[in-house]
Symmetry: C2
Subunit: 168 residues, 2 copies
């Protein structure tokens, strides 16, 4: 599709992030299993529930715009998840792996924050207030998840990784 | 390289972002040429100068850590730039193209913000104060560039894109 209007761009962006969020739904359980820090594992499990709600909100946004809910291959997110997968398979030791998993997950959160931020301003410009409101809820969840990951890194995971072992 | 220490992770992350920034140095002139809004074009030209400084700072960081400055293929950034390239080639009309270019560039900025954020906390944990200080300057530049893009979108580009023409 050639985007000739801002409405096209909004729909195109929604399809991109719809595909991206569905990929994240598949990736989060792997991250939760790979995390050795229990709080980090729980953070990923909780964010999986957020992400499922975000997928549902995107379906609602498509409906509000009178469009079919369908994804569009999102190469940006594919690259980020591929990078994360390679890291998980690199065979690093537990606390260092946790620190690296957090970094990968924060790249994903930031991708989504940038995306939702743009989609919200486009929806607002187009007067699509309900769509903007739905996406703002998802943006807030992404920001909260990102802040929690920073907190977990700074309050324990990084220090353990610097010591190079998983003991307390 | 299997990252077994936080120092490995820091070096690995520096190599990843070193490769990423070099890709951005190549991409920014294309974005500057593609932008129809003059202020947007200038923003990309200015950010190219920032990015060259960021590459030089990374080389300084490698030196401080006693490591060779070399990149590591960054699939995350590759995916983001590939997505942006496809958009540029989609043949959209001027103001809509500008709005989409901003969105793609903000994904790139956010990738770098997430990356520098993690690298700074790792460098601080390891007591690498000078490295952290260098990367903080780059993080601040990324945040400023991201805010400028939001400003340009909200103060003109999006409204023009909604009208579907490039006239004032």
């Amino acid at each position: 599709m050639v985007p000739t209007t801002l409405n096209d761009l909004l729909l195109d962006g929604l399809r991109d992030v719809y595909h991206a969020e569905k990929q994240v739904v598949k990736a989060l359980p792997q991250l939760a299993r790979a995390a050795s820090n229990p709080a980090l594992g729980r953070a990923f499990e909780d964010h999986l529930e957020d992400t499922k709600r975000q997928v549902a909100r995107l379906e609602e946004a498509f409906q509000l715009l009178g469009a079919t809910a369908r994804g569009k291959r999102c190469k940006g997110m594919e690259g980020l998840l591929e990078e994360g997968k390679e890291f998980l398979e690199s065979g690093g030791s537990d606390p260092v792996l946790d620190a690296g998993i957090i970094a990968g997950a924060q790249k994903v959160e930031h991708y989504e924050m940038a995306t939702y931020g743009c989609l919200i301003t486009w929806a607002e410009t187009l007067g699509e207030v309900e769509v903007a409101h739905l996406l703002e809820q998802s943006l807030d969840e992404e920001k909260t998840a990102d802040e929690l990951l920073t907190h977990l890194a700074e309050e324990g995971v990084n220090a353990l990784a610097a010591r190079g072992d998983g003991t307390d």
